[in-house]
Amino acid sequence: MTSPGTEMVKIRGLSKSYAGREVLRGIDLDVAAGSVMCIIGPSGSGKSTLLSCINHLERIDAGQIWVAGELVGYREKNGLMYELPERQISRMRQRVGMVFQQFNLFPHMTALANIMEAPIQVKRVRQADARARGVELLERVGLAAKHAMFPAQLSGGEQQRVAIARALAMDPQLMLFDEPTSALDPELVGEVLAVMKDLARSGMTMVVVTHELAFAREVGDELTFMDAGMVVERGAPRQVLAAPQQRRTQDFLSRVL
C-alpha cells in the first residue's frame, strides 16, 4: 500500500505520436496518493491520450510512467524498455479503474452483470460474492433499484454511475475519468459529480479530465492545464483558475468561462 503523500502516479518525459504527429511532448506529472488531480485543456490537446497511456491502453514512444511505484507496460533493462506480455499488463490494469466519456457499458448485460463481469472473469471471484459486492456498489451510486435494467433502459447519468461502480468493483487504487460528464444532458451532470465527490472524500486517488471548473475548484487538490501535448501550467485549482500565470491558460479560461 502507498501511504498518503507518496506518488500514486509519476510520469517523466512522456512522449507519444500518432503516425508521426506528436500528441504528447515530454509530459512530467505527479499525482499524490489520495489526491484528486484535475486536467483541463482545449480539445485535441492530448488529455485522453495521456489517460490512456497511464493504464497502457496506448503504447508510449518515450518516457516512463509509474503507478504505485511500478513501471507501467514495460520492463527496464540496460537502459532499454521492453514491452511486457499482455498478461502482466492486464494485471496492472486491474488496479487502475477507468471511466469513459461514452460510458462504454456492455449493452448485452444488466447493470448488475456489468459490475460482476470483471471480478468473475478476471479475479475469479465467486458468483455469489461478486453479486453481493455488485449490489453494494449499486447502492453506493444510488441505483440499487435498477440492478436488472439494461444500459439502454438507463439515462446517461445512470449509465455513467453504473460505469463508475463497474470500475470500483475491481478495487482499484487509482481512478481515471475521461470527461465523465461531457456526454450528459446538463440536468444529469450533478448526480455523476456527486458520486465522484463522494469517492474523492473516501480517499480515492483520482485523475479527472473535465470541463467542470466548479468541480475542479471544489474537489481538486491540483489542477493541470494542458495544451498541444504539453503541461502548460499547474497548481492549486483556486490559484490557477483565479490567477493563471501563463498566457495560454488565460486565453483558454477566458474562452470557457
Partner: protein, 283 residues
C-alpha cells in the same frame, strides 16, 4: 380579421376529418383477385398437373430419403461454412498481414467462382490429382490413396457447397465483429480482461446480434443450393425426383413434389428465422 371564426362561438372540436378516398386501389385489387382465381382454377383443373400422382409420391420412401439427404447436406455444409468462416474472419481481422491476405484471397476466389462450377470441379478432382498423398515437403510419404476412392459425390458436394459458404459466412462474421464499437474492447481491457476473454464475453455476443439474421438467410439459400448437387448424381431431393421421372415419365408431378418439399422446408425455416431475428433485435 384573421381569426374571425374563433370569436363566432364555433365548436372546433366537432369538426371531423375525412380521409382521402382511393377508388383505383379497389379496381386494382379486384383485377388482381380475378387473375389469382383464374390461375388457381387452372392449376386445380388442368389434368396435366396430375395431382393424384403428386399425392402418391409426396411421402414415397425414396423421396423421403432424398429429402433427408438434402437436409443432411444443408446441415453439414452450413457447419463447415460457420466453422471455417469464423476462422477466416479472425484471420482477416488479424494484424498479421500474411494471415489477412490469405483470408482475403480465399474469400475473393470462392465468392467469385459460381458454386455450380466449383461442384463440377470437385467432382472431377481425380483428373487433376489422380493420387492424393500426405507427405512432408521433400520428405517421406505418410499416406496415399487414389483420388476417386476419397472424393465421393458426397465429399465433392460438401466441399463445393461448404467451402463457398465459408467465404460468405466469413464476410458476415467479419462485419458483425467490426460492428461492435471499439470502446467496448477498450472498457474491457481497462478492467484487466485478457484478449480471449474480451472476444468471448464482450465482442462476440454483441457481434452475434448482427451475424444471426444474415446467417439465417444463408441457411435458407443453402437448402435451395443443395439442388445444384443433382448435376453430380448425388441423390438428394431433386435428383431423386429426376431418377423417378426418368423411369415413369411423370415429370411435372415429381417436380411439383420436389417444389412442395422445398416450400415446406423454407417456410419452416423462415418462421424460425423470424423468431431468431426478433430475439436478437430486442434491446
Amino acid at each position: 380579421m384573421p381569426h374571425a371564426a374563433l370569436s363566432a362561438g364555433v365548436d372546433h372540436a366537432a369538426h371531423r376529418v375525412v380521409p382521402l378516398r382511393h377508388p383505383w386501389i379497389w379496381v386494382a385489387s379486384a383485377v388482381v383477385a380475378l387473375v389469382a382465381l383464374a390461375v388457381l382454377a387452372s392449376v386445380a383443373t388442368n389434368p396435366a398437373f396430375q395431382w393424384p400422382v403428386v399425392a402418391e409420391y409426396m411421402l414415397d420412401p425414396q423421396i423421403l430419403v432424398g429429402l433427408g439427404r438434402t437436409l443432411e447436406l444443408t446441415l453439414i455444409a452450413m457447419a463447415i461454412g460457420l466453422v471455417l468462416g469464423t476462422l477466416l474472419a479472425m484471420m482477416r481481422l488479424s494484424p498479421n498481414k500474411l494471415l489477412s491476405t490469405v483470408s482475403w484471397a480465399y474469400i475473393w476466389f470462392f465468392r467469385s467462382v459460381p458454386a455450380l462450377v466449383q461442384l463440377i470441379f470437385w467432382y472431377n478432382f481425380g483428373a487433376l490429382y489422380p493420387v492424393i498423398a500426405l507427405k512432408l515437403p521433400f520428405g517421406p510419404t505418410l499416406f496415399s490413396a487414389s483420388t476417386n476412392s476419397l472424393i465421393t459425390p458426397m465429399f465433392a458436394a460438401l466441399a463445393g457447397l461448404g467451402l463457398a459458404q465459408a467465404a460468405y459466412t466469413a464476410e458476415v462474421i467479419r462485419g458483425g465483429i467490426a460492428s461492435v464499437p471499439k470502446g467496448q474492447a477498450r472498457a474491457a481491457m481497462a478492467l484487466g480482461m485478457q484478449p480471449l476473454t474480451i472476444f468471448r464475453r464482450i465482442v462476440f455476443p454483441q457481434a452475434m446480434r448482427v451475424i444471426i439474421p444474415p446467417v439465417g438467410n444463408e441457411v435458407i439459400s443453402m437448402v435451395k443450393s443443395t439442388s445444384l448437387v443433382s448435376v453430380i448424381a448425388l441423390a438428394e431431393l431433386l435428383y431423386t425426383a429426376q431418377l423417378i421421372y426418368a423411369r415413369t415419365y411423370e415429370t411435372i408431378p415429381l417436380l411439383i413434389v420436389a417444389s412442395l418439399w422445398y416450400l415446406i422446408i423454407v417456410s419452416v425455416l423462415s418462421v424460425g428465422q423470424h423468431f431468431l431475428e426478433r430475439r436478437y433485435r430486442a434491446r
